[in-house]
């Protein structure tokens, strides 16, 4: 279980997270919503070790990982996607997926000798299967920089699958997608990504949140204002006030 205890984070005099505590339940998808600038991305950056925290504790399965670097956290089986898509644009789609599979132990000669560009390498096969799951099997030889936006987002998720992490942190996976594309993404997450994993999904598209989340956490101004079953949380007056707006 991922547990955040009294996390504080400031940038200069801007207090972004104000002693926030969140428990993320294992094996289910938790949604994280909140207004623009409320600190969602900062929270994910902290959980993935990109930002150091000012105070507080981060527990992963009971172990304190507060000071860990991002590459160390990644090796513990935590993987994330980015709000501003990050892919290796000057590599092909399949190379991007393989990049998530190469040796991530400390400097090793296994990595040195592994012939990743070899078409007979088992990694290539695994990557092809993942591309089929993502319905991108015809794009494997395209350069990632040439993909359309929904495909880039899918490539980020394909990379997640290649990595096969215990915990996945999604930062606006449906950003820039049309309602139709969002729907098929929701389907994909439910069918192929979420089962057996702990997921945290940041999203402003309530359609996606409603489809994939079993638990919902709402933050505002760096503080948690609600957590619980989505149908309950959606009807809480402070959530409607701060985030959803009156219908």
């Amino acid at each position: 279980m991922f547990e955040l205890i009294k996390i504080c984070k400031s940038f200069g005099n801007l207090r972004v997270l104000k002693s926030i505590s969140i428990k993320i339940k294992s094996g289910i998808v938790t949604g994280l919503i909140g207004p623009n600038g409320s600190g969602k991305t900062s929270l994910v950056n902290i959980m993935s070790g990109i930002y150091p925290i000012d105070s507080g504790q981060i527990l992963l399965d009971g172990n304190d990982i507060s000071g860990a670097k991002s590459y160390q956290i990644s090796r513990l089986g935590v993987f994330r996607t980015f709000q501003h898509i990050r892919i290796f644009e000057r590599m092909t789609v399949i190379e991007n997926i393989i990049s998530a599979m190469i040796s991530h132990e400390s400097f090793s000669f296994y990595g040195f000798l592994a012939q990743v560009r070899n078409p007979e390498d088992p990694k290539v096969n695994i990557a092809q299967n993942i591309l089929e799951i993502m319905e991108m099997e015809n794009d494997s030889n395209l350069f990632a920089g040439d993909l359309s936006l929904p495909k880039r987002r899918r490539l980020e998720i394909a990379r997640v699958l290649a990595r096969d992490p215990k915990v996945i942190l999604f930062d606006e996976p449906a950003g820039g997608m049309t309602p139709k594309e969002t729907e098929s993404l929701a389907h994909l997450i439910n069918k192929n990504v979420a089962p057996g994993r702990t997921c945290l999904v940041i999203e402003h598209k309530m359609d996606l949140i409603a489809k994939v989340c079993e638990e919902l956490c709402v933050i505002n101004h760096g503080e948690k204002i609600a957590q619980g079953d989505p149908s309950v949380v959606f009807n809480q007056p402070e959530v409607i006030e701060a985030y959803l707006g009156k219908v």
């Binding site: 590459y71 990743v116 030889n141």
Partner: protein, 301 residues
């Protein structure tokens, strides 16, 4: 048929290619180094001292000079690994100038066969006579250079196809994403620097013994800028990219006598045009990938 002038041009291409490959390795890991000529120079001096003053065998001296260059590169890289971009470039430039200024003051001479030999500051270091002492012809020495270049290319070819090569390119494109993949770029950046320093060192040591005379002025920043430009012209998609760059500059421009003397101007213009038309060089990642697919298909048919 192969006259001495032509052989000199060809062997020059080989030795400078090693320097260009060394700059290329850093380019694919995303750093621009203006200082690879320093490692070229360190190895030229130390390798030549080993053969000429200490009487070490050639191969041992070659390894000695190159290892020294690699170690120096590793130390500099360990100190600068946390800075990147412009700041990294400037620090490499500063280090290489330090080396050059040191060589200008560096004097270490010994009497060998009644003659005072060894580096003597600005006056340079003459009498590196290993070639003559061992009766090696220019042709044979050129073969030797190309043997070493060939070995380096083979090594790099395999590195590029391995996970290590992929990690280099990952770091070059997005260091933060690389970290999220569980890879700590620090180790790999230092390793790339050592490798690049070592390869530059191979070139430098060969250079000293080919010309028999070296002086600190040779290893100035223009040499480093050229070696960078070779990768940028030839392409950053494969190790053959920088070789194309060297062949174009030294092979083509140098040998067209009409533009002799204007070579630097033509070369500068060529770099500018290339950067506009093909920002990542002739053999950039996309073309290399297409070529590789075509080659694979052709081999299968």
């Amino acid at each position: 048929m192969l006259n001495d002038y032509l052989l000199t041009v060809i062997s020059n291409i080989g030795m400078i290619s090693l320097l260009a490959i060394s700059a290329y390795i850093l380019l694919i890991t995303g750093e621009i180094s203006f200082g690879q000529q320093a490692y070229f120079g360190i190895s030229a001096y130390s390798g030549a001292i080993a053969t000429t003053l200490w009487g070490w065998p050639f191969w041992v001296s070659l390894l000695f000079g190159s290892l020294l260059a690699g170690i120096a590169a590793g130390l500099v890289s360990a100190l600068t690994v946390r800075i990147s971009g412009l700041y990294f470039s400037i620090s490499t430039l500063a280090f290489s100038e330090m080396v050059r200024l040191f060589l200008l003051k560096f004097s270490y001479q010994k009497e060998i066969d009644g003659e005072l030999l060894g580096p003597n500051g600005a006056e340079g270091f003459g009498g590196i006579r290993w070639i003559f002492d061992n009766n090696i012809s220019v042709f044979q020495y050129t073969l030797l250079i190309y043997l070493i270049l060939f070995l380096v290319i083979i090594c790099l070819f395999f590195i590029e196809r391995s996970g290590l090569g992929m990690i280099f390119r990952m770091i070059g494109q997005d260091p933060m994403l690389t970290r999220v993949h569980g890879i700590n770029p620090v180790n790999y950046k230092v390793f790339a620097a050592v490798l690049a320093g070592f390869i530059a060192g191979l070139g430098g040591m060969l250079y000293a013994h080919s010309f028999t005379f070296i002086e600190p002025q040779i290893f100035n920043v223009m040499l480093g800028v050229h070696s960078l430009a070779y990768g940028l012209i030839g392409g950053l998609g494969t190790v053959f990219g920088p070789l194309i760059g060297v062949a174009l500059d030294i092979g083509l421009l140098e040998s067209i006598r009409v533009i002799h003397g204007y070579r630097m101007i033509v070369f500068g213009g060529l770099v500018a045009i290339m950067l506009i038309l093909m920002p990542r060089g002739i053999l950039d990642e996309k073309r290399v990938y297409r070529l590789r697919l075509a080659l694979r298909n052709w081999l299968h048919v």
